[in-house]
Amino acid sequence: MIKLINTQKVIHQRIVISGLAIIGITFMIIWQYAGITINQNSYFLNLSNNNFKKSALITPPRGTIYDRNMNVLARGEYAHYLTLTKQNSIPFSLIQTSLSPHIKTDWEKLENEYNQALEGGEINLKDPLTQTEYTTLALNMWSLPNLRFNEALNRIYPFGPSAAHITGYTTTTDNKLIGKNGIELTFNEHLSGIPGWLKITKNAKGQVQAQSEIIPPITGMDIQLTIDANLQQAIYDIMSKYQGTAILVDTQTSEILAAVSLPSYDPNNPFESNETPRSFFNRLTHGLYPPASTVKPFIALEALEQKIIDRKTVIDDPGYYITPNSSQRYNDWLKHGHGKVDVHRAITFSCDTFFYQLAEKMGAYHLSHAMSQFGLGQKTLIELPSEKSGLVPSPSWKNMLGKKWYLGDTINIGIGQGATQVTPLQLAQAIVLLANHGQAKNIHLTKALKDQDNWHPRLVEEAAPISYSPENWTIIDHALLDVLQTGTGHRFKDNPHQIAGKTGTAQVVNIKNHSDDNLQSHDHSLFIGYAPSHKPEIAIVVILEHHPLAVSTANDIINIYFNEYRDPYVKKPH
């Protein structure tokens, strides 16, 4: 009996011990839960919210770039991309067999990417789908569960390479277009607008459950350029055989009607065609050329104004000039000389000897002043990125380099050679000032900006006025007209549009990095001019690298402008 009682006692003890253990462990678990829910509440609440609440940027559509007649130069367009989601259950061979009839791609590379991806990872097929590919695939989508279409905004440039150096191009970063050159870069912030914010709710599978806009995006501004895209294209076609630039400016408004730089690239896919790095070189803003004889009218004007010469001053040109002190000989381009030469003939026939003597008389200060007045060697403040300023040499510049200024330097500037370097746009600004007798606006590319629904026309500053006496302007006008009647450009005297201008030939001994030896043997040919000479409407600059036909090209461009593009432009001003 005692043993039985003892047994029961042991059992009861053990039951009580178990009960206490149960209570103890239950409290330990509650303690653990209290730790998680009270101490770590904010941490886990944050994690819980981050699980499903995501925010995303809404990229507004990028603004459109129009030409002066509202033709589109650059616009945004939605492109379709294909996205593959990695699923271990679906082998790559199945994807390839079902896709290969519809699209073309690098299957081996794709297979590698697919096999290396983690379950649920996404792989993009790089190239945007063509419209046909998209349509046929969209009809066959049911065959594979892990295919999805993505939309992305692409930039389309309908005029392709012809305006590439003006519009520039864009690249896509984080599903956002970023301007990389030209107007796209200069006005990147205007064009891209201000992104908005989107609140997205996603479930564990990444499916979007709900979304709401918190901050609406502000659409990018549209830009109207002064360019006539069709004229630009026509000039590009004329010039396509050459390397160089051509600029056509409206002399009344200083609007650039066309500005071509060759070679060019296709802004629609700038890196996927066979463009060389040189194709991206924008000669309009970065091309530094010796202005050569094209500076002669500007120098002559300054000399007339300073009364260093007058219209009757005549020199004798034996084909060279020897400086009195150093007996250094400077040759004229014409071996036996032009004979008796006054300022009119000096410009018409581009007499170097006249300007050698004139330069020596004027001195370096007046020479560089003559060129700087017309904006040579200074930035034109055109709406294109990182424009070069070029150089008009002066004694102080050379002193700064620690070198001495020689008389030879002065004489070389007199014919636009030596260290003188100008950009084509500077020449365009100079010729516009010349055509308008010193009163003109700055040359520019943009006409108006569209903010929401209103177009805001661009206000253009006047260039610093040049006040020379009217007779002097007239002397130069007549000389420039005669360049194309009797002078260096007399072959085009039959042109009905009364072109006035100045030719130039720049020596290119300095340019050495050319791969093509044949090209190197030729000098650059330059032409600046305006038409019609009695009442200028357009100014033109043509520079052909290693090719002599600048005047001929300018003649073609002016013809094509007056015959085909002048009328619609006059009828439809914006």
């Binding site: 009996m1 039985l4 009682i5 003892n6 047994t7 029961q8 006692k9 042991v10 059992i11 009861h12 003890q13 053990r14 039951i15 009580v16 178990s18 009960g19 206490l20 149960i22 209570i23 462990i25 239950t26 678990i29 509650i30 653990q32 839960y33 209290a34 998680i36 829910t37 009270i38 770590q40 509440n41 941490y43 886990f44 609440l45 994690l47 819980s48 919210n49 699980n51 499903f52 709710t201 996603k202 479930n203 564990a204 599978k205 459950q209």
Partner: protein, 380 residues
């Protein structure tokens, strides 16, 4: 039997004394009432949270749960009314049937998610391991009540075989969770039958020494789960992902929870198995620490009330069986809640009364039926 056992047991612990005095003051029905009250409250809460879970599942989910609760209550009622010999005398038969079914599962079992745990009998799927949760303790209690108590080490070896056979059969399915439950209930019964502490200590030493051996017996996925628990960052999107999402649910609930139907972890499908094994994470998220501790408190109270019944019971068999059932409720709740908050590895153990599933509720019903049956026959 002694005339007045209370006097002789006064040397026992204070709580024991108090509990026995309760009997003396003829409030002997109290533990049964408390257990019934706790059960009803737990079932009510279970309905509420299964309703919350059902809003993210198919339409019949909640109705199914209600029907299963009714079925389980009916079974509990039936079990509590049958004749005592159905348990004591037939326990060996149940045990044999259970072991037979477990062996059958190995050859003809349905394999779902890589584990063969189910037998298809017509349209019904039966889990023999669930049946074993009741059959094994019954036979164990039956055997122990015939042995000389306190249990001697030599008898222990015989008893150990009773639990080790089903344990290995279940663990091989593989279903380590259920195996551990069957094993630990048996061990508790052995503990209560009074195996000396010295024997227990020596057995523990042997067990610890054999851990490296047992480790190799585990499946790779079971080893991984244990390793993940030791270093959750080693497997961020595998097993650790479930624990992490479950902890996020619990932690983000705070003290008062996000409100009924307010679980974002469930709504956005981050929480896995939110209506079965991980329902406690849903409960914690929606009702916070308050709801979680209320449920743990109710479960603990239920276990305590059954243990008090065990103290009050006259026969050794009833004492052992009641303790086993109390321990069954406790060990399931303990493993489940500890797993959900990441204290122990993920094992497939349902939360009694709460987890969706017929077997879980049916085992609870049968267990409670036995409790009330034993309580009835011990006092009537």
């Amino acid at each position: 039997m002694s005339k007045n056992p209370i006097k002789q047991e006064s040397s026992g612990t204070l709580s024991l004394d108090v509990l026995l005095r309760m009997k003396k003051h003829s409030i002997s029905l109290a533990p049964a009432h408390i257990s019934a009250f706790c059960t009803l409250l737990l079932l009510l809460l279970s309905c509420i949270f299964q309703y919350s879970a059902s809003t993210h599942l198919h339409n019949h989910h909640f109705t199914n749960h209600l029907l299963r609760i009714l079925a389980a209550m009916f079974v509990a009622f039936l079990v509590s009314k049958v004749s005592p010999k159905w348990f004591k005398n037939l326990s060996f038969l149940y045990y044999l049937i259970g072991v037979g079914l477990l062996i059958l599962v190995h050859f003809k079992g349905l394999t779902i998610k890589g584990a063969s745990r189910w037998l298809a009998i017509g349209p019904i799927r039966v889990e023999p391991s669930e049946f074993m949760k009741i059959a094994c303790p019954l036979y164990m209690a039956h055997c122990l009540s015939y042995l000389k108590l306190p249990l001697h080490l030599s008898h222990f070896l015989f008893c150990a075989n009773i639990i080790l056979v089903p344990f290995f059969l279940i663990a091989k399915q593989p279903d380590l969770g259920t195996g551990i439950i069957v094993l630990s209930i048996g061990l508790l019964q052995i503990f209560i039958s009074g195996l000396s502490y010295r024997s227990i200590a020596s057995l523990l030493l042997i067990f610890i020494a054999s851990i490296p051996l047992l480790w190799n017996l585990l499946h790779t996925y079971q080893q991984n789960r244990i390793l993940t628990l030791l270093d959750p960052s080693s497997d961020p999107l595998g097993t650790g992902y479930h624990i992490m999402q479950s902890k996020i649910a619990i932690g983000s609930g705070g003290i008062w929870g996000k409100g009924l139907l307010g679980s974002t972890q469930v709504f956005y499908q981050f929480l896995p198995e939110f209506h079965t094994d991980f329902i406690f994470a849903l409960i914690s998220e929606e009702s916070g620490l308050f709801g979680a501790s209320l449920i743990l408190f109710l479960l603990c109270t239920l276990c305590m009330s059954i243990l008090v019944m065990a103290l009050q019971a006259k026969s050794i068999f009833a004492k052992l069986m009641l303790s086993a059932i109390a321990f069954y409720f406790f060990i399931c709740s303990c493993i489940n809640t500890a797993m959900v908050c990441g204290i122990i590895p993920v094992v497939g153990v349902p939360l009694p009364f709460f987890s969706y599933g017929g077997s879980n509720l049916m085992v609870c019903g049968v267990a409670l039926g036995i409790v009330w049956h034993l309580h009835r026959i011990e006092y009537d």
